[in-house]
């Protein structure tokens, strides 16, 4: 079942959690809501579930307006961050709860419930633990019980709030793989909240990046990593270097480095910012031939050996800006540099954003530019 979020605004006493959010989640997809804490992602999830009411806007399930429908009638499967398992019930009763609280008319028979619970226990690989209590299970097992409990009522889709947040790394890896497998098997629409970009990238078909109550970008992991819509998305998805400069005569100048652009209005002069991933920084001992326009000199301040990769802290000689470079250990050995060495640095794959205020366009305040040589 598809989910449509239209113009949702939600505010609490002192702050606005969501501002005019629009989102479409197609049927059968595994979608991640990614953002830092306080970005409104959990609020959005709770609004979709019906655990919160928006001030404005509407929520549609498969085209049908559900905005004013009670949470009990929405038939969503919700898995809470800390699972919210019923402590005084054993695993069987926890999973059976949603079925056994139905009114007599719609309640399945005892045998049917038992059958259903056991098939779910099998699905979540917890057969034989039916009579344990939540306190007797590990974190990963509790997580799976919470999933089974949500699935028991045959929800239209699954909503998971930080599903792996409380687990240690190894269990988290396993559960991610398992959730992916489950999604493939059930074909259910799954929406989950996470602040871990790696988790979102690894698991989701579509990632919704959120910040300060707004959706910043929606796209496949590939899209948002390689074509981030704005500086926030760029810097949220990994380590990043920042270079400040200006746009002049249709060219971007970041210190001594120069980039051609397809910028139409040559008369405009404005500040520009270049974003660059550390692993795109190319280091050489001699000036590179040909494309010297994008090459500058830098001094190595510090070298960190991080196992398979090596990270260098560098300082540009032209602008004194500090930045990072990452390379394989092998490349580092080939270079044979040490701290205080002066090297040539070529800036590849720089995403440049021009401050749009002088251009009098509205949000986002920085517009992306495709830089070329």
């Amino acid at each position: 079942m598809s989910i449509e979020v239209v113009n949702i605004t939600k505010s609490y006493k002192s702050f606005t959690a969501l501002k005019n959010v629009n989102l479409h989640i197609p049927e059968g997809e595994l979608v991640a809501l990614l953002g830092p804490s306080g970005s409104g992602k959990t609020t959005l999830l709770r609004l979709i579930a019906g655990l919160e009411q928006p001030q404005e806007g509407s929520i549609l399930f498969h085209g049908e307006d559900n905005t004013n429908r009670d949470v009990r009638e929405r038939q969503v499967g919700f898995v809470f961050q800390h699972y919210a398992l019923f402590r005084h019930m054993n695993i069987f009763d926890n999973i059976a709860f949603g079925l056994s609280v139905r009114s007599r008319k719609t309640r399945p028979s005892k045998e049917e419930i038992s059958e259903k619970v056991h098939s779910l226990l099998k699905l979540v690989q917890l057969e034989g633990l039916a009579h344990r209590y939540p306190s007797q299970l590990s974190g990963g097992q509790r997580q799976r019980v919470a999933l089974a409990r949500a699935l028991a009522v045959e929800p239209k889709f699954l909503l998971l709030d930080e599903p792996f947040g409380a687990l240690d790394t190894k269990v988290r890896q396993e559960l991610r793989r398992w959730l992916r497998h489950l999604h493939g098997k059930l074909g259910l629409t799954i929406l989950f909240v996470t602040h871990d970009q790696e988790e979102a990238m690894e698991l989701a078909d579509q990632v919704v990046v959120m910040n300060e109550g707004r959706v910043e970008q929606v796209g496949s992991p590939e899209e948002i990593y390689h074509h981030p819509a704005n500086p926030f998305v760029y810097s949220f998805l990994g380590r990043v270097n920042l270079f400040h400069g200006r746009i002049q005569n249709g060219k971007i100048k970041l210190g001594e480095a120069e980039f051609e652009t397809d910028w139409k209005d040559k008369a405009v002069e404005a500040p520009a910012v270049g974003y660059m991933r550390p692993h795109d920084v190319e280091i050489s001992l001699r000036p590179p031939e040909g494309k010297s326009a994008r090459s500058v000199q830098a001094e190595i301040n510090h070298i960190s050996l991080l196992g398979p990769i090596v990270r260098l802290d560098l300082k540009r000689l032209d602008t004194d800006e500090v930045f990072e470079a990452e390379m394989s250990r092998q490349r580092f050995m080939e270079l044979n540099v040490e701290e205080e060495s002066i090297v040539y640095v070529t800036l590849h794959n720089v995403s440049i954003y021009v401050d749009s205020q002088p251009l009098q366009t509205h949000r986002p305040s920085l517009v992306p530019l495709q830089a070329s040589v």
Binding site: Y12, F15, A17, S37, G38, T43, G50, L51, E52, Q53, D70, V71, R72
Partner: protein
């Protein structure tokens, strides 16, 4: 949120039923005490509480509280220090033993002192030799009151001191403070509200105790009568207005106790909230 609460009509029904219950069982008796006290007019009221026997009962009640409360405060502090700041085998047994007087009926509390110090009691020959009287005298009233109020201060202090941990005390000692200085300057400021709370409850019970005191006092007017016993005597003599007039003194004590108690709770709650907010500032986390 509507899924976390009930429809308004259920909400208000529940509130009204709860308030009716409390009104019937708590507020009505309280109102009755004051109404009955003034039934025969203000003069009778004033005369009753300024009567010589009432005044001597007030004096005795204050004296008993002035002895038994400090005794139990000293014990409470010592016990809380030993139990909260150290670990030793049998701690739970000790805690249960401290609770014992709560489980003992006040009448039995009086009885055990009669069995011990009464005319046929275990210690009777000893007392006779020294010409001491405990039962049907003021010392017996003090003993029984101290027994009944025994756990109050310790019970309030132990959890508070346990929650404080012992890091701060260890820091103070490592900086060269003596045990006594550490207690006065580090522990006491941290637990002062808990201590006061215990003292207030202990005092209320000490002044109001009836059953245990009734057994050991002998009801000698003007001699071994505390305020609650005086109320009983007046009531049994059908001097209702006078009985209720004296009772207003005790009811006023109860109200003052409740107000102080609420103030302390409010204060500690606010402190806890402030601590929490500070914690948020440090970690930079935000709710919601």
């Amino acid at each position: 949120m509507r899924h976390l609460t009930e429809p308004a009509y259920i909400r208000w029904t529940l509130i009204i039923v709860a308030l009716l219950f409390l009104g019937l069982f708590l507020i009505l008796p309280l109102v009755a005490v004051f109404t009955e006290a003034f039934r025969q007019g203000a003069e009778v009221f004033v005369a009753s509480i300024t009567e010589e026997e009432t005044l001597s009962a007030v004096k005795l009640t204050l004296l008993v509280a002035a002895i038994s409360v400090p005794l139990n405060v000293t014990f409470g502090i010592a016990a809380a220090w030993a139990i909260a700041k150290f670990s030793f085998p049998g701690k739970n047994v000790l805690l249960t033993l401290i609770d014992l007087p709560f489980a003992v009926s006040p009448v039995i509390a009086g009885l055990i002192f009669v069995l011990l110090f009464g005319s046929q009691g275990v210690a009777a020959p000893l007392l006779a030799a020294w010409d001491l009287q405990i039962i049907f005298a003021v010392p017996g009233i003090m003993l029984a009151t101290t027994f009944v109020t025994f756990p109050f201060v310790a019970r309030e202090l132990i959890p508070v001191m346990e929650a404080q941990g012992r890091d701060e005390e260890e820091a103070a000692v490592s900086l060269g403070a003596s045990g006594w200085k550490t207690f006065l300057r580090v522990t006491l400021p941290n637990v002062k509200w808990g201590l006061l709370y215990g003292v207030i409850l202990c005092n209320a019970r000490a002044m109001g105790e009836f059953g245990a005191v009734s057994v050991v006092s002998g009801h000698i007017r003007g001699m071994t009568n505390t305020l609650p016993l005086h109320v009983e005597i007046l009531y049994n003599e059908y001097q209702f207005a006078a009985a209720f007039a004296v009772a207003t003194l005790l009811a006023a004590l109860a109200l003052v106790t409740l107000i102080l108690k609420s103030l302390i709770e409010w204060k500690t709650e606010r402190q806890a909230k402030l601590d929490e907010e500070q914690h948020y500032d440090v970690t930079g986390e935000r709710a919601g």
